[in-house]
């Protein structure tokens, strides 16, 4: 599986029928989709080889504020 960071506009236009539901950032401007190896994805902001790479990036100090809710038991 590979993962791609997309804008919401790109997702809605070209990937809304993807097999797996995407992971959205907190303000719903970007999302990460998960696709089978070999599946063509264009116009992405960033690509990730595996889930570990996604989370290393997403949980980084710079990005976690955009993805991780602070209210744990909301």
């Amino acid at each position: 599986m590979k993962y791609y960071l997309l804008t919401i506009e790109e997702f809605n236009q070209n990937h809304a029928d993807c097999v797996h539901a995407p992971a959205y950032n907190l303000n719903n401007t970007q999302c990460i989709i998960e696709v089978e190896d070999g599946e063509e994805v264009s116009n992405y902001l960033q690509g990730f080889e595996n889930a570990t790479d996604v989370n290393v990036w997403r949980y980084s100090e710079a990005e976690s504020v955009n993805w991780i809710p602070s209210d744990e038991f909301a």
């Binding site: 599986m1 539901a21 992971a23 998960e34 889930a51 989370n55 290393v56 949980y59 909301a74």
Partner: protein
Amino acid sequence: MGVGNLPFNLSDIQTELGSTTDTLSGLGLEATPQLTTPFNMSEFENYVAVIEGYYRNDGVNDYGQITGGASTNQFGSGRLSVSFWVKQNAGSHHNAQMLNFAPGFSSSDRIMIDYNTGAGGKLRFNHRQGSGNNLKEYYLNNGGNNSKSGTGGNWQASNKGNTNGQGWTLLTVTYDGAVSGVGGVNFWWNDQQLDHNAQATNGSRSNLAATNLRVGENIHNVGSAGNAAMDFDKICVYSSILSASEIQNIYNNGPKGATLGNPHIEINFNNNTFTDEGTHFSNNGTVNNGGSIQSH
């Protein structure tokens, strides 16, 4: 020599048994193959293939879920134990919701077993009722828990702590609901009972029906901060407080091994299915948003 599920010849069986006969009946087999070699194990009568599997949550936004639990069996009213196997795959240090049992799909009423990165990492059990929490936490990296867990710090893929030979850790919570608050909760890492050395919050609580179980994520959310990058296997709920020797036996048996007696809930992922081999959940489970069942 062991005969596996691959094509094999009668001579293989002869060798295995040390026999000189070359007939199926002479070799003690009740067989219905086409009598042309090589045979497959699946051609023989009474042969049931089991592909031992486990559930992989990749930690992006996926989860496993099973519904249809009997409402009469509740957390908080009696004595029970939850045991399950996990393999930590997180490439970075982050929270991980492991199991959520709940009557519905809201944040308010649920039993949560999770890992939290606070204070260097802690395992937690929370009987959450309404907006109140009955929360008991166990620091992994100080006191006796340092050596018991073997983590010594952040629990992640590069620091799995003490595991069996295949990288799996057995986590067990025993919960005596007759004791007020979380006084009846104990947490085990493999066969070691953890020292309670962190927070305990005791709120009001009543019984919760475990109608639904979500694995790897908050039951009310998707893609949360608690999405676990972990493998899971053999999730069991026993209707008793397991003893140290019983937990030792479960640990020794491993994730593919036998359970202890007949658990009330026994979630397995064999033959590419997510099922309760106990008596609680009436539906088959589902894997969602990229979660997958893998073979051991």
